[in-house]
Symmetry: C2
Subunit: 364 residues, 2 copies
DNA sequence: GACGTTTCTGCAAACGATTTCCAAGGAGCC
DNA sequence: GGCTCCTTGGAAATCGTTTGCAGAAACGTC
């Protein structure tokens, strides 16, 4: 096959001519069909030829062209991930775990961000469809307008994660925040908290209001739940709220303080420690949202949002849907998986076995 | 063309048969060639046919098959991004800006993570090459072993970002930390700091040692730079260091405290405020590393690492390299862009126009 | 030795869009 | 009117891989 050699030698410009399967086959002295079968193992090939092909492939530095392969197989081995922009700090753990899950199955990840203004979602899904991805994982950027982005996926499996647009077209994996919030309150009540103060939540924000309701619901008469005047949910907000509280005198101190997140809790802890108020002896402190799941310093009792698990679960649902799409059997039913944030006990709440210890030392 | 219709109608299973260009052409009553030309605008098409084709395309909900297109054009309109795992918190801003830059140029992003153990990098690049990406942006996971991952890219443009393996094969965009560190020191000296204390840096860690050197170099006799005994570079470390300092008596107080990062600075600030030490009146506080670039509370003067700009710059270099690769002109020369972290003045250092104000109020 | 039966190989046709090459038609010019 | 030039449309080749089909070879059994 002299023409093949010709092609290899005189490729455009001076670029290395990326070798093709035909080149490998020519070098091994077999047909392309055989070369393909030897490399993919799709059908048995005699030992001699198998070795010949493998050697030729290695010598030429052959790399299977995934594009051509995808065209022929009608399968790109690629999954699209669509996320809302401006929230990445939170979502990076999700990206990482999704990527990890896909890699284990030899799938590639193509990532797209949607502007918060919503119907970007549809465009992103459309664009992924044009790339013929095998599946899509999406965190809808708008609960109203993202409905049609789910539909745009047509027949390819799509999984929603983190947030959830009502539809029977897609599986989804979500967060069971209510349950987690309740668990946290139970944790405190169990440790004999009777007066609980909430810091850093804004009763006027619907999401925060819901959290407050969940806390009150879980207290259910076993404890009083007060809400401190709203201060920003950052470190400084925690500091300000705690200072105000301390200034109000020892009688104003609650048994436990529930903070919006770890930053707020850090601020509160710093003030309490400095004023010599024992934690968790006199006051217990807990946080509703772990901001840096990476760290392992168990300073503050917190709720860890299971982003890694959510990513894993999303990938699992997706692969499962792909699989069952091949077998034309029964109609698929949309599945919903809810994961609860995990309660991670830290040194800022008491050890359960130890009852109130008024003279306990400061946390180390 | 009855067979085309047949194909459309009797596609595999019950799946919607994704329409092809042939379907569109058939419906519009033209050849595929004309249909392609009408949609891509590669060559002029008469108005009548143009409209017909566009209508047919819309009616069928046609989506250009990017895979087939890529195969024919030898161009995937896709860029690979390779990042080290376990550092995403920091890198998420980078991902976002790279993604944004690519989107503006109608390029897709495929993301891969390398384990810290290094030669994963090579595998990731290889895999991206198999997908025939048009370019690669990589943050090398190992300064020793990642050399060959650059070479694995062969003729496709590759840009290093954040970290840098020496090679003449790739452009790179890096961080000019020394310059930024010096700027911060100059900022303090300008504001009449004469005794500076460094908190949260570990002289035994090479990177920290380098920062200390840079600070001393910039002080250059204009100020004394002391290093506090190492405490962990977290909020708590800042608190401990500051308490020790305050306990040593008012004479021990420096004019300015430079902290390893914002968390440390927060701890220091909390202690100073509580002990009634005026900031920035008595002591100024600054941080070498902004941990949460999203927030805009200008509490502490800090160095903001320009991840978004780095991403933008990386994309720019990549596109530029692609462009100049087409014109077979002169040999490409590797370019290196250095960006300095940006000094963001906050309320923890003085206003330059106002000289020392011994009775200034606490920061709000 | 003849005749199934298995095991391999190779040819050629997909996959779907783009582009080159050709041909036909119309406009413009002498 | 005859010529060229320009525009427009279609047939077919191309990108690189996989696979249905058919032929060939090897093997076993009677």
């Amino acid at each position: 096959m002299p023409d093949l050699c010709l092609k290899s030698a005189y490729a455009v410009g001076m670029q290395t001519p990326e070798p093709t399967l035909a080149d490998v086959a020519a070098r091994a002295g077999v047909s392309v069909a055989t070369a393909s079968r030897a490399l993919t193992g799709a059908r048995p090939v005699s030992d001699t030829l198998h070795r010949k092909v493998r050697d030729a492939s290695r010598e030429l530095g052959y790399r299977r062209n995934a594009v051509a392969s995808a065209l022929r197989l009608q399968r790109t081995e690629t999954v699209g991930l669509v996320l809302p922009r401006y929230t990445t700090g939170f979502l990076s753990a999700l990206i990482e775990s999704v990527s990890d899950g896909l890699e284990r199955n030899d799938l590639s990840l193509v990532l797209r961000y949607s502007e918060p203004d919503a119907l970007h979602d549809v465009g992103n899904v459309e664009s992924l469809m044009a790339r013929r991805v095998d599946g899509i994982i999406i965190c809808p950027s708008s609960l109203e307008a993202s409905q049609e982005s789910i539909e745009a996926a047509g027949p390819v499996p799509i999984v929603q994660v983190g947030r959830f647009v009502i539809t029977d077209r897609s599986d989804s994996v979500g967060l069971d925040e209510d349950r987690a919030t309740q668990m946290l309150m139970a944790h405190l009540v169990e440790r004999s908290a009777r007066r609980v103060l909430v810091v850093g939540l804004d009763p006027d924000a619907p999401a925060d209001a819901r959290r407050i309701r969940a806390l009150r619901g879980a207290a259910e008469g076993a404890a009083d739940v007060d809400v401190a005047p709203f201060t920003a949910a950052v470190l400084d907000g925690g500091i300000r709220a705690a200072e105000r509280l301390v200034a109000a005198g020892p009688g104003a101190l609650p048994d436990a303080i529930v903070c919006a997140n770890d930053d707020v809790a850090s601020g509160v802890l710093a003030v309490l420690r400095m004023r010599g108020i024992a934690v968790p002896g006199r006051v217990q402190v807990a946080s509703l949202l772990d901001l840096s799941p990476g760290r392992e310093d168990l300073t503050v009792t917190t709720l860890r949002h299971p982003w890694p698990e959510m990513g894993r679960e999303a990938v699992r649902l997706l692969l499962d849907a792909q699989q069952s799409r091949r077998e034309p059997g029964a109609e698929r039913i949309a599945r919903r998986v809810s994961l609860a944030p995990q309660l991670v006990p830290g040194h800022s709440t008491r050890d359960r076995t130890v009852p109130t210890a008024p003279d306990s030392k400061e946390t180390p």
